[in-house]
């Protein structure tokens, strides 16, 4: 272990009276990977901002490479070699890979004219350093998410980088892409670059980390060697309580068939998909990115029009490729990217729930009974325990877990028979995740059929009665809950 590159001691930060960070201290050595774990609101984002020089701590000491820092600003922090890779990557979608990688280096060097060959050479060198082959002239907006992240890493490395901070780096990646990322992290560490992971897919990054720091409510609650932690103990430290995740109780034999999918086919997306869903059943559909799981989820709700096949709900055929008819028939769909597909971000929490029920609160003249509508929405917010400081605040101001609950509340207000949840806990923290899983179990107990589409294997294993495995557009396996472990399932997805 080398000497400490960054040392924090007694760092405290308050925002208008609320303590975001309280006396936090730890050190990161050169070439070391540290996992900073914490739920949303635990203060980890504030800590990133302080290290990046965006925010100033109220008290406390920051020492970088042996020098005590006074007021840090983004420029000073970047010059000291601290590079932050934000969750959204902060790339320029319209520019080429080469320009994205070399842009900050060129600006930092004070270039006035475009030095194209120099920029390309720098980009090529940096991509070679992480052993990745991405066409230099491709526009970043045309790249898959995993490649965008690699471009963001390359950009951080293009200028002298001594500490790379990665904010939720694995959220958008499939298992295989996470492996590639971890290999790159290992190589960077061998070069003496330190890495600070801020992640909630914890088990995946633990294996490359030496050191773990856990924050809860702005305080450091645990710190130690990575080998002394596992997913269970991390969750316990982060939430302050034990979150037991066991598979659901078996379904009674008498549960009636609710939804029947027969020979659903879409050229190039999925092929001859047939399955049944019983009332009260939670059915998992898992597969790698590109296996057709998302297209299938959308087809169930009519967002993708299949070429042929039938969907019947309670013995009645559901029209294909028509989301309005699917919703009327009693199918609900919660999209994977709820921020862009599922919510009106700038509108209030209440309105987001109420929007699904406009039709039911109309009188004969088409005038809205606003009071009744909002009262109903308020009821659902309460039942799904959405923690909103103010139901009139915009949805954007809520945490990921609470946003997901708002989407669920909207669907529940319409009393659907079948809910299709695509990646229900993508981007939410561990505590909220457990609560969302509890909500799923609760919905199923009320007799709903729930389809969970996810590549988060622990989630599939702990919520589903039955697991369908998708590979290259086909359902290849149908596994009962409890008959398979995580490693085995991962192998079945990828093989």
């Amino acid at each position: 272990m080398g000497e400490a590159f960054v040392t924090l001691a007694g760092v405290t930060k308050t925002y208008s009276g609320i303590t975001a960070l309280d006396d936090v201290g730890f050190a990161i050595a050169a070439g070391e990977a540290v996992c900073l774990a914490g739920e949303n609101g635990s203060g980890k984002s504030t800590l990133i901002k302080i290290l990046a020089g965006v925010e100033q701590p109220d008290r406390g000491l920051i020492r970088i490479a042996g020098t005590d820092q006074g007021a840090l600003n983004p420029r000073l922090s970047a010059d000291a070699g601290i590079k932050v890779i934000f969750q959204d990557f902060s790339l320029f979608p319209n520019l080429s890979v080469a320009e994205n990688i070399a842009f900050s280096a060129e600006i930092g060097a004070g270039a006035r004219l475009v030095r194209r060959s120099r920029m390309r050479a720098l980009a090529r060198r940096t991509l070679e350093r992480i052993r990745v082959d991405i066409p230099l002239d491709a526009a970043v907006e045309s790249l898959p998410v995993a490649h965008k992240q690699l471009v963001a890493i390359a950009r951080a490395l293009a200028t002298e980088a001594r500490l790379i901070i990665m904010d939720e780096p694995t959220t958008a990646l499939t298992e295989r892409e996470v492996r590639v990322l971890l290999d790159i992290i290992r190589r960077l560490k061998a070069d003496g670059v330190a890495v600070l992971f801020v992640s909630h897919k914890l088990a995946e990054v633990l294996e490359v980390c030496e050191h773990v720091v856990v924050l809860r409510n702005g305080r450091k609650v645990a710190e130690g060697q990575a080998r002394d932690f596992d997913a269970g103990s991390l969750t316990r430290h982060m939430t302050g309580r034990a979150v037991a995740e066991a598979p659901p109780a078996p379904l009674p034999e008498t549960a009636p068939l609710l939804l029947r999918v027969e020979g659903l086919h879409k050229e190039g997306a999925f092929a001859e998909v047939s399955f049944g869903l019983r009332a009260g059943e939670v059915l998992g559909v898992s597969g790698l990115l590109g296996s057709g799981r998302t297209a299938l989820a959308k087809a169930l709700f009519g967002l993708v029009a299949p070429d042929r096949g039938t969907i019947t709900l309670d013995g009645r055929a559901v029209p294909l490729g028509d989301p309005v008819a699917a919703a009327a028939a009693g199918i609900g769909y919660v999209p994977e990217d709820r921020l862009t597909e599922g919510l009106f971000l700038t509108q209030s929490v209440l309105q987001n729930v109420a929007i699904g029920r406009l039709g039911a609160h109309e009188d004969r003249l088409g005038v809205l009974d606003l009071g009744g509508l909002l009262a109903e929405a308020r009821g659902w917010l309460g039942r799904l325990s959405v923690k909103a400081p103010d139901p009139d605040a915009p949805v954007r101001s809520l945490s990921g877990g609470n946003q997901q609950r708002v989407v669920l509340a909207r669907w529940m207000a319409r009393s659907p028979r079948v809910l299709v949840l695509n990646g229900p806990s993508v981007g939410v923290d561990v505590g909220s995740k457990a609560e969302i899983h509890a909500i799923i179990a609760d919905l199923a107990a009320q007799g709903l059929g729930v389809i969970v589409i996810s590549d988060d294997l622990p989630e599939i294993l702990c919520t589903c009665h039955r697991i369908l495995v998708m590979r290259a557009g086909r359902l290849v396996e149908d596994i009962a809950a409890g008959r398979v472990g995580e490693a085995d399932l991962a192998h079945r997805l990828a093989s």
């Binding site: 983004p74 420029r75 970047a78 932050v84 934000f86 902060s90 790339l91 320029f92 979608p93 319209n94 520019l95 320009e99 842009f103 900050s104 060129e106 600006i107 930092g108 270039a111 006035r112 004219l113 475009v114 950009r155 190039g268 997306a269 998302t294 297209a295 959308k298 993708v304």
Partner: protein, 328 residues
């Protein structure tokens, strides 16, 4: 070279070729030097405006005030030179016009870059203010006697000739100014880091801030540059028309933005090419000047331009949507 059918440029070029083919069929006299010089003449002022509008669109903003800047500049410059500096040579008049335009542009720049107000609202406001200020406090009467410098510039031609049928054709020297504006703008956009930063903030303002781009500085440049180009266009317009009419130009801004969008620039920012812009301007000028040649009455002009915009921007968008649906 492979032809990319999903690009706006390709579509617009095809429509231009088709239009010319139709026109040549119905009037063999269409394919002549005189038609060409007429079209080039019609593109001089529009081309400068469109180049400015392109830069703003790439930076992620929109400017609708440039026509008011141009009208204000030409009127005030003509008045000022007549009253105080009749000795000013033509290039001095142009320089003064560009300075006034840049000064008006800097008002937009302060409101947008420094105070962070939305670009459409700011420029809608200044469009009205510049125009209203000029009409109320400066004057409403046409200036029919331009200062000597502008008159001299108005007579400068690069090509002059006589057709076989005895009619004359000519190409105004201001065409060279348009060419220069396009070349300089190309160099700024593609050969300077400033230009790349304009693309970058159009792609993502937040990302630009995070890597240390001076977003305010870049925006400030953009609006001053557009004001300067508008000033230049104003002087050229008055010199060529040989009159400074304060009611000219305003109302043209949407056609100009339409030409730029037709050429593939996106209103959401970050995308746009000068090739596309030139083609878009060419198509709009062609429709304005020569619609009657292919047997469509001139009253259908705006309908045709509207239809072209829907087709030219709708078709690539529709294709992109279909491609996305196939990939899902």
């Amino acid at each position: 070279m492979r032809i990319d059918w999903t690009r706006n440029e390709t579509l617009v070029a095809l429509v231009i070729l088709g239009f010319c083919a139709l026109a040549a069929l119905s009037d063999p006299g269409f394919l002549s030097v005189a038609t060409l010089t007429d079209l080039l003449r019609g593109g001089i002022v529009l081309g400068i405006f469109a180049t400015g509008a392109l830069v703003v669109l790439i930076s992620g903003g929109i400017d609708v005030s440039f026509t008011a800047v141009a009208a204000f500049t030409m009127y005030v410059t003509a008045m000022l030179l007549n009253a105080a500096m009749p000795w000013m040579p033509w290039w001095g008049a142009i320089a003064l016009g560009m300075a006034i335009g840049a000064a008006l542009g800097s008002i937009n720049a302060v409101l947008i870059a420094v105070m962070g107000l939305p670009t459409l609202i700011v420029t809608l406001g200044t469009l009205s203010i510049f125009r209203g200020f000029m009409l109320t406090f400066v004057g409403q009467k046409q200036i029919t006697t331009l200062p000597p410098g502008m008159r001299e510039f108005g007579r400068m031609m690069v090509i002059r000739g006589e057709n076989a049928d005895g009619s004359f054709y000519s190409l105004h020297a201001a065409f060279l100014a348009t060419v220069a504006v396009i070349v300089v703008t190309w160099a700024i956009l593609h050969r300077t880091m400033l230009g790349r930063q304009i693309f970058a903030i159009g792609g993502s303002v937040e990302s630009a801030r995070r890597i240390g781009i001076d977003v305010r500085g870049v925006q400030f440049f953009v609006y001053v540059y557009v004001g300067m180009l508008a000033g230049l266009a104003g002087i050229i317009h008055a010199s060529m028309a040989r009159v400074a009419n304060p009611f000219d130009l305003v109302g043209l801004e949407l056609s100009v933005i339409a030409a730029v969008v037709l050429g593939g620039a996106r209103l959401s920012g970050g995308h746009g090419t000068l090739t596309g812009t030139v083609l878009g301007v060419a198509l709009i000028v062609l429709v304005r000047n020569s619609l009657v040649v292919i047997g469509i009455p001139t009253t259908w002009q705006s309908v045709t331009i509207g239809a072209l915009i829907l087709l030219g921007t709708g078709l690539p968008a529709w294709q992109a949507k279909r491609a996305a649906a196939r990939a899902a």
